[in-house]
Symmetry: C2
Subunit: 400 residues, 2 copies
Amino acid sequence: MSTYHPLTEQESIDIARNLEQFFPADASLSCKEIGDGNLNLVFHITDSASGKSLIMKQALPYAKVVGESWPLTLDRARIESEKLILEGKLAPGLVPQVYKYDPELSLTIMEDLSDHTIMRQGLIEGNQYPMFAEHISTFLANTLFFTSDLGMNQQEKKLQVKNFINPDLCKITEDLIFDDPYTVSSNNNYEAAIEDAAEALRTNDDLHLEVAILREKFLTKTEALLHGDLHTGSIFIKKDSTKVIDPEFAYYGPMGFDIGAVFANLILNYVGQQYWIKDEATRASFRNELLNMIISIWQQFHDKFLALWEEHGVDRIANQAKGYKQYYMNKVLQDTVGYTGAKMVRRIVGLAHVADIDRIEDDTIRNQAQRKALAIGTELIVRNRSIQSIEELVELVKSN
Amino acid sequence: MSTYHPLTEQESIDIARNLEQFFPADASLSCKEIGDGNLNLVFHITDSASGKSLIMKQALPYAKVVGESWPLTLDRARIESEKLILEGKLAPGLVPQVYKYDPELSLTIMEDLSDHTIMRQGLIEGNQYPMFAEHISTFLANTLFFTSDLGMNQQEKKLQVKNFINPDLCKITEDLIFDDPYTVSSNNNYEAAIEDAAEALRTNDDLHLEVAILREKFLTKTEALLHGDLHTGSIFIKKDSTKVIDPEFAYYGPMGFDIGAVFANLILNYVGQQYWIKDEATRASFRNELLNMIISIWQQFHDKFLALWEEHGVDRIANQAKGYKQYYMNKVLQDTVGYTGAKMVRRIVGLAHVADIDRIEDDTIRNQAQRKALAIGTELIVRNRSIQSIEELVELVKSN
């Protein structure tokens, strides 16, 4: 039972039944595999009598998105489980609870969040999430600060860097985000109708210089332990609750990469709303809320991060050097802007897209949205090192 | 025999005798412990009949410099041995050959370099080393390029980062170079006569900001596998040969830290020469040669690094993005300037000093040299992010 193999639904039920003190002894469990089948199996196990349920996520030894030819280490299941447990400690209530991790089976057993919605879907439907900025800014400030050299023992941090070396999953990001979109690659995926805009990505020298610098930081800057894939499809949400899931891309990298992932996906939704919300006034109001949300997330992140630094900073000279905190937060903002742009561009011309834009049925509106996302993304990347405030980012989005 | 304990001279002879095909079977070996007793035992084993000899270096589980109260992991012997072997492959002939590594005993058996001089001593004696710039620039270009994301498989590089996580030895650098000199610390060590200059280090806001930024890069920038302690006491030299030794501080960090270590120690010698070379014309000429050496090392490093990049670059976008190579080399230069300054300052007010200045017997000249080194070091640190050429660094040294 404990040698690695992809589980069947019946096997997953047997494992769930043996989980101590979870389901009643006589429970009649049912199971459904609900994964998108990309990198993992996901089993939803329920006991209709008690109403109790849980999720079992098992890593597959390959990425199905490109067939079995893209092998992926099962070690990512350990990374995901350990990162989830750490996030639960640093940002209580903002991630699913982990009940058990089985290293042999690369299996994580965790809280069922079926009462939540995937945020991407919720935004497409035009739902408002008034707590999101508060929740995600806490998640970002706490997980980033307390895993950085500012907020944890610096020798233990080095051991954390070692523990979260994640070559396979980082390779996916390096290829799909920081290479393919800017060259002719079989991994790219876009409609012929925007070929000229895709071509423009391949011939823009200023863009390439900044992408090279952003790629370099992704490869070399062990600033904090990142989630690594923090888009709105990795967030379960409802009005009063936010749960960040799926940290299998976790590794030590630049903070702005996580923050930029959130912003990029909010802006992609902003762009896609041209189609989704038909009423003009409602759409304008919703879009305005999205941009306000970005400002609020940054401001709250900024303030919470600095408050943690003030109270828990471990680095004497970083704590005391005049001007260093401002220098630091400004660099994080600039990285955030650059990674926001990089994550928008890849979602239009790269391998993996977003429903916010891809599912727009009207060809003209969809292609307009794709072009707009590329224009915003490109400008964010090109200008990232000169941005001085979150308002500049929002103005840049509005003006495109 | 193979359980860890500090070896006696007799035990080291027994081990040497068992080294396959090195000494003749009937050799009459003699042994002398020649370490400075800081972090390691160093046994020099010779066979006077055959003239053959070797060095055995054994790590001690503590740093003697501050008594047995500063424990150090023996893992640094593995790191040193693996780094030496790697350097031997990347920069053939520029490090001692490793004959054997015994992990149980934390013991490295290697080439005897007794026919060489420690470069610091050679420079103090006013010797010229016409091949040094060529040798050390090759060492730097090859070891740094081929361990970076520019010159090696980027997934294997991540495993190298993991393999060379070195918390104990990095902690020494973080404390002694990037903290203590800028605050009141019991680790500091300087004469009362320069108290005002030491005090000035503790009250200079511009300096503290730059030290905080240099410290941050030391903590987070996994740019290349560094030697980590590349001062002139870690270099064996003679006219036609240069051998870099003692890489126990090896870890993934910013390239400029290694280059800056070389420059700092050349400049410290430049400053100390006010005492050592009595004849004014000879002194002026020697000093001029030291500054020319710095320019030559940088220029050769720069050209060799770019040539390697041109021929062996593995990163598509880094290879092709217009302006990126210039951006990259400029950042390495600026880091080099900052770390040069940081390594000069710590050698004057910090725990460990250099003979080039400490052994000056004339109090006035010695204190003048200490003040000059602090002035140069401080200015290099404060100005590092605006330096655009190696000539600026040299002009800055001359003008102090």
